[in-house]
Symmetry: C2
Subunit: 336 residues, 2 copies
């Protein structure tokens, strides 16, 4: 089953069921007005949503043409967005942690931060930046949406809570990361609005691509039409989504509709950009720059600037599973 949220007169949009091939949709309004409402009563409402999905896929319902640009983020605002660190390669590359005490600690328990969730960006929303010199970067991640999880859950409780899967772009202002880390209060200023692919999918609909509590698909990333990476989200996972849920619920319950991010997808390799024909590449610019510093003595790949275009998709058989994230960088107009 695939779901999306279309723009509507209310801030939380309109829940729709999308066909498996992402070409058509039908309103789910008679079952639940919004995705949060569906998640609040998932066990009761899921069968009706699944029925609608089946009818749409087999053509019993004609539906309407699905335009990904009409979609908001699946949860345009969420009660919780927690970002994890499932791929150690990313941490090692961006923080040069090897051998430090932190690195040791972080290989035992995943780092998590509380992200802002009051305005999550649509896949087609511009990335609005207040200044051009903030070293704007992207981070492609897998994201799950969960049901309620009690404090200190078992791994089985955590696994059973996974409702929906998609990908997201955890937009990062690298120049502010150091300040945010130094004061210890978290990535407050360096992580503005995260963007989400237009469609969320139930794990069972992902078939062989969802197993061992992770997504087994390559994620393709382009900047201005140039391929930057295609790491596989199922490879080199140090912490899977069960690990992240269990860690997140160490001292508190997690509400239905909580979104959890995998951390930047990263596979082990010693490549640099431009990507080779059989290369894996990167799901963020900071890692590419670190690899360049090691190899060439200095970073070559620039951070993003106004006008730059991003495109990200998880691919199965060459087809975009969740729809593409396509964003353009835009500078905030000065107030004066």
């Amino acid at each position: 089953m695939k779901l999306a949220t279309l723009r509507a007169s209310r801030p939380d949009g309109q829940l729709v069921v999308v066909s498996s091939d992402l070409t058509r949709f039908v309103s789910a309004g008679r079952i639940a007005p919004t995705l949060q409402a569906a998640l609040d009563d998932w066990d009761r409402l899921k069968p009706a949503l699944a029925e609608l999905s089946k009818d749409l896929d087999k053509g019993a319902i004609a539906g309407q043409t699905f335009e990904p640009s009409a979609a908001l983020a699946p949860l345009p605002r969420a009660f919780q967005w927690i970002d994890g660190s499932g791929y150690m390669s990313h941490l090692e590359r961006v923080r040069s942690l090897k051998g430090s005490k932190d690195a040791e600690l972080q290989s035992i328990r995943p780092l998590l931060y509380q992200g802002g969730s009051d305005s999550l960006s649509a896949a087609s929303d511009p990335i609005l930046i207040p200044d051009e010199d903030l070293a704007l970067d992207f981070e492609v991640e897998v994201a799950i949406i969960i049901g309620h999880v009690p404090m200190r859950p078992s791994r089985a409780q955590a696994a059973a809570a996974i409702r929906l899967v998609t990908i997201c772009n955890d937009v990062s202002l690298r120049r502010l990361v150091a300040d945010d880390l130094q004061n210890g209060f978290g990535f407050f200023h360096s992580k503005p609005s995260t963007a989400f692919a237009p469609v969320v999918v139930t794990p069972d609909s992902l078939g062989e691509h969802w197993r061992d509590n992770r997504l087994h698909l390559p994620v393709r990333v382009e900047v201005n039409g140039t391929l930057y990476g295609r790491p596989n989200a199922g490879v080199d996972v140090h912490f899977d989504f069960i690990d992240l849920i269990v860690e997140a619920a160490r001292t508190r319950q997690l509400g239905a509709g909580t979104i959890i991010g995998s951390g930047t997808i990263a596979n082990h390799h010693d490549e640099t950009l431009p990507i080779r024909e059989d290369g894996i590449g990167f799901a963020c610019i900071a890692e590419a720059r670190t690899a360049e510093k090691v190899k060439f003595g200095k970073a070559r790949t620039p951070f993003l600037k106004p006008g730059d275009r991003l495109r990200m998709a998880a691919l199965a058989g060459g087809r975009s599973v969740f729809g593409d994230i396509q964003q353009t960088v835009v500078a905030l107009a000065s107030r004066t």
Copy 2:
């Protein structure tokens, strides 16, 4: 105008208008089903809510008896909870920052962290802790709820966005604070569910008690019936709510329904516990313990343990303005 959210069959509860003396309420369901719905369309809905409030106060509507224990948090779950650091005395006492570079930086720009907002506690909810040795503490703060604020707002835009005022208890697990600070990713595990007073009040209804973008009232704190403090929230404010809003919106917009905390209320003094007859005392245990270490060489006041009872209220003329926060500490039952 005073508002509250009563327990109902849906997770976001039922919006009600409460009489000025907190004795009666009337449902606001015909205007907005929930507080978030009211905040989403505030300018259009506020006049009708104010009218209802006026009729309730003058007796034109009889209403029903208001039982604070029937109230949830005003926003039982919110799209954003940002906690600030408006009172430097608190930071100085708990972190011994004097003379450090951090202290200098923090006196120029307020620290903020992104709090978990998926399940905010009612004033009468127990504080559920997973282990007894986590050094459980409370922090009494002023909290505001705001309307939408654009990225990089003017101070006038920030001031105009303040919709509602109350107090909250930012529950803290001190033993986990150091870990959270060290990894730099924020207070993820050390700050479980924050509790809110049962009633929120519009700034105009606070009269002389709300001016200069701060609350001018003492907040009284008792532990097991013993007075621990009565600091005035309007005194020794280093950053007011406009400062906090402007800082929070440096790199992003803030959605309607965002809650912002003042940081632990703290007045300058060199007292210790027990509180003197004319003493000010503390709005958290950690500060009292630091003062004891300085004066006696070691901390005396214990952190909270299961069974301990907390009571907090902002007082005007001896009366509780937002209703009391009254919580009891409860240990999580073991799963095995």
